[in-house]
Every structure is written in C-alpha cells, then in structure tokens.
C-alpha cells in the first residue's frame, strides 16, 4: 500500500506554443500508506501539479505513478481530492454535493443515503445537509468538500491547500478537527500547503519543493507525539516543534532567495 512516484517530469506549454515552463523535473518519491505527508514550497514549485498527477487529472510529460503496484492512468475511487476553492456545485445542497461522486459511480440510492449521513456526521454537518453552499460559511463549505472526498471511501486523501481560503482562526480549528478525524482511521493523506506551521503540526513527513524547475529539496520526518489535537498548545510550543519550524524556514528562505522574482 504505497504511492510510488517515479521520475516524474512535467512541463506546461505557453500560448505561443514555444515557451515552456518546467513545473516538475525528475521527481521521485515513495509515500507509505497510513502516513500524513505534506508538500511544502513556494508558489510555482510544482507541488499542486504533482498532487494532480497523483490524482490522475494530469498526465505527466514523462515518468509514472504506481499506487499499490498499479499504474495511474486517470482518476480512481482509491483517491479523493479536497480542493482549495471547495469547488462545490452551487445548485446542489451540502447533501447533494456529497452524493455527487457516489451518483457518478452508480451507487444505489439507499447506500448513498447511508454514506452521506455517516460522512456529514463525521464532519459535524449532520444538521446542515439541506443547506446550499451559498448559505454556508467558508469553513462549512470545506467540511462539505471533505465529506464529499471521505464519502468515496478513498485509501488516499489528496488535499490541495484545503485551508488556504479560510481565515486564520477557522483554519487552525479545521487543522485540529482534521487531526482528530485522521486519528480515527489513519488513512494516507497527501497535503499541499504554503504554511510551514501547518505542515509541521499535521505531518509525519514534510517534503519540501524548490522552484525552477520544480523539484524536491528536502524530505524531513516530523517526530512529534500523537494525538496532536488533544493539547495542541503544548505541541506548538515544544522545543522540537520550534526546531522543525526553524529548520524548514531556513531551507525555505534559501529557496526564496534563489528565485528570479517574487
């Protein structure tokens, strides 16, 4: 049960058909199942691109992804994505949005209802199933996004800066709740983020990306005690946490300084 990323390179062609942007250059890594892994790095380092390649939304220019030995050639129900901008269908209620992937996969109505009730309760939205996205706050919208992904029953949860569009207080709360949820089944999570603190607090492993071309510059194991949601203050003020944080910041600054323009 692993994700194997083998020599992935990916380039985007500009409109003129000649200019070319190297988003990822020869990236390889292995993600063990049951771990919480963060992709961290400055904008344009290809971390989101790699997540999309793992999801199967993008076919890389070269290289292969194997999940549990099987080659990725498109989206599949063993992976589910949570998007930064929530991407909820505005004409569907919270319940309808969570139901969407199950409907698409031909799951029976009775089974859909059962799954939707379970995951909505898991994210604390059991009373908000009939609300439309425009009636929900940002945090609640992302809970719907998370419930939609959980409903698929994925082995791997792919999260693309899921809390990036939320304000700081809600963001911290969502981190705690994600930790709580994660502790209940310890599925594999690949979590893309800009935030050093978020990456250290959540992860077992932080993979740092650098730019031009996008590549891995560091791979750190975060050895902090779990569960982390019970006394998050103690964790965030511990010497170890601060040490990780400072180490990563130092690496990140080196990356930022080497960038041509910000």
């Amino acid at each position: 049960m692993t994700i194997e990323v083998q020599n992935i390179s990916h380039g985007y062609l500009a409109r003129d058909g000649v200019s070319h942007f190297q988003a990822l250059a020869d990236v390889s890594l292995t993600i063990e199942s049951g771990t919480f892994v963060s992709f961290l790095g400055p904008s344009g380092c290809g971390k989101t691109t790699l997540l999309r390649i793992i999801n199967g939304l993008i076919t890389p220019t070269s290289g292969e992804i194997h999940i549990d030995g099987q080659r990725v050639d498109g989206p599949k129900s063993d992976r589910a994505m949570v998007f930064q901008e929530f991407n909820l269908l505005p004409w569907r209620t919270a319940r309808g949005n969570v139901e969407f992937p199950l409907e698409v996969q031909g799951v029976s109505k009775a089974e859909r209802d059962r799954v939707v009730n379970r995951v909505l309760a898991q994210v604390g939205l059991d009373k908000f199933g009939e609300f439309f996205p425009h009636q929900l706050s940002g945090g609640m919208k992302q809970r719907v996004g998370l419930a939609r992904a959980l409903g698929v029953g994925p082995d791997y949860l792919l999260m693309d800066e899921p809390f990036g569009a939320l304000d700081p207080q809600i963001r911290e709360m969502m981190q705690l709740e994600l930790m709580k949820l994660w502790d209940s089944d310890r599925k594999s999570v690949v979590f893309v983020t800009h935030s050093v603190d978020e990456a250290v607090f959540l992860s077992d492993r932080v993979i740092m990306f650098g730019t031009s071309p996008g590549r891995i510059v560091a791979d750190l194991t975060i050895d902090l005690p779990r569960p982390r949601w019970v006394d998050d203050e103690a964790i965030k003020t511990s010497a170890k946490f601060i040490q990780y944080r400072n180490d990563i910041w130092r690496l990140l600054k080196r990356q930022l300084n080497s960038m041509p323009a910000i």
């Binding site: 989206p75 269908l89 992937p101 698409v104 996969q105 996205p133 425009h134 939609r148 709740e177 709580k180």
Partner: protein
Amino acid sequence: MSERAAPAAINTAPKPPRSALARWWDRRGFVNCLRWGAIIAFIGAWEGSSLAGWLDPLFASSPSLIVEKLWDMVADGSIWPHVLASANIAALGFGLSILVGVPMGLAMGRSVAIRSALEPFTTALNASPQVAFLPLLIIWLGIGVASKVALVFLGSFLIMVINTEAGVAQVDRRLIETARSFMANERQIMLKVILPSSMPYIIAGMRLGVGRTLVMVVVAEIYAATKGLGYLIFQAGGLYDTAQVFVGVVILASAGIALNSFLRWLEKRLAPWQHVQAE
C-alpha cells in the same frame, strides 16, 4: 467535527423592530403603488380622452370597448378556436426550438469541431430576417400547421442555441475538473455539471424566445390562415374593428407576460445561488 462555526453563519443579526406594514411598504408597497398607479392612470386617460371626444374610437378604440368586445367573444365562445390555434402553433414551434436548440448549444459549446462546422450557418441564419423564409416554408410544407410551426421554430431556436452556448462557455472550469477527479465521464459532466450550470442562460434564452415566438405566430397567421390570433387581428384591421384588434393584442401580451413571469420564477427555483445578492 464540532459545530462551533455554525450558528454565526446561519443566524443573521436581529433587525430593529418596525411594523409589518412599514416593512411591506419598504419591500413592495412603494414600487407596486407606482406601477399600478401608472397603469390605472394610462387606462383612465385613454378612456377619458375617448369619452371627451379627443380620440376617435373608430381609430383608437377605448378600454371599455375592448373589454366589452373581449367579453362578447368569450361569452359566445368565438375567441377559443383562435386562441387554441395560436397556442398550438406556439407550443409546437417553441417546444421544438428548445428540444433542438439546447442540445445543439451544448454540443457547440463543448466541442470546437462541432462549433466550427455549425457556426457559419447559425451566424448566417441569425443575421437574416427569418420572416423572409415564410414563402419558402409555405412552398415546402403547405399552408397548414407545419409551415407555421416551422416559422416559429426558425424564429426562436437560434436564440436557444446562442444562449445555451454562452451558458456552456461560462461554466466554471474548476467544477468540470472536480467532476473529472470524482470519475465522472463526459456524459455525466454534461448532464450533471454543464447543463445545470447553464440553466440560468437557457432560461434567459427561453424568455427571449417567448417574445420571438409570439411575433412569428402572428406573422405566420397573416397568410393563408382561417383561424388564430394573427388571423383575428388582421381580419379585424381590414374591417376597421379596432376593438377586436386590441383584443388580439391584449391576449398575446398577457400570454407573453404570464410566460415570462413563469420563467423568472423557474429560474429562481433552479438557480437559487444567483439570487443571493438580490434578496
């Protein structure tokens, strides 16, 4: 997860107390009073000018003459064959234009190949006055219902195509990507993402289409018809029966207003997220 964030998002702050009547006035009353006031003033002025002899009822008719005529035609039942004939042509022609126009617009919006192949024809047809096709339609389809339905179709289906296509063009790419990421195939993306997302545009197209449909019904019924509201109007015009002309016009206008209100209501039902700011 807990619900700590929930109440703040749902409960709105209580408003300072005002009487129910004052709130009704703010929301509806003022605007409605002006609207109905203007309508009543217009009808009153028309009727008054007619009574005072400033307007010749032979040319301008008057509201009371129109109502009287309408009442007579309803009472003796002579209005119904005309209404039914026109309604039949309008429903068939407009229904067909939705059935053909929406799928065609979806296909053109989604596929560059289909769009490129069909665009010369839609552009040309859109630029030409569709009424001019009526003689051809009569030659091809005869003077019965078919040519009239065809004219209505020709007049309204392009609006459906163009509006549907515009609807498809504005669909949020991220929603399509999300659907793909949850393994939706092309057909499911079309039916579950693109079609509902384009619905406000399609309904806007229908609202424009209603107007075109009514015009085409009247035009089609001028020629080679023995019943229908268009026939009624032009026959009455030839006899200087201006009250009967206005009866036809009033019925057509009422149908247009009723259909438009229904479509507006439907749009609110189908696209509630579009009306958040308005409420």
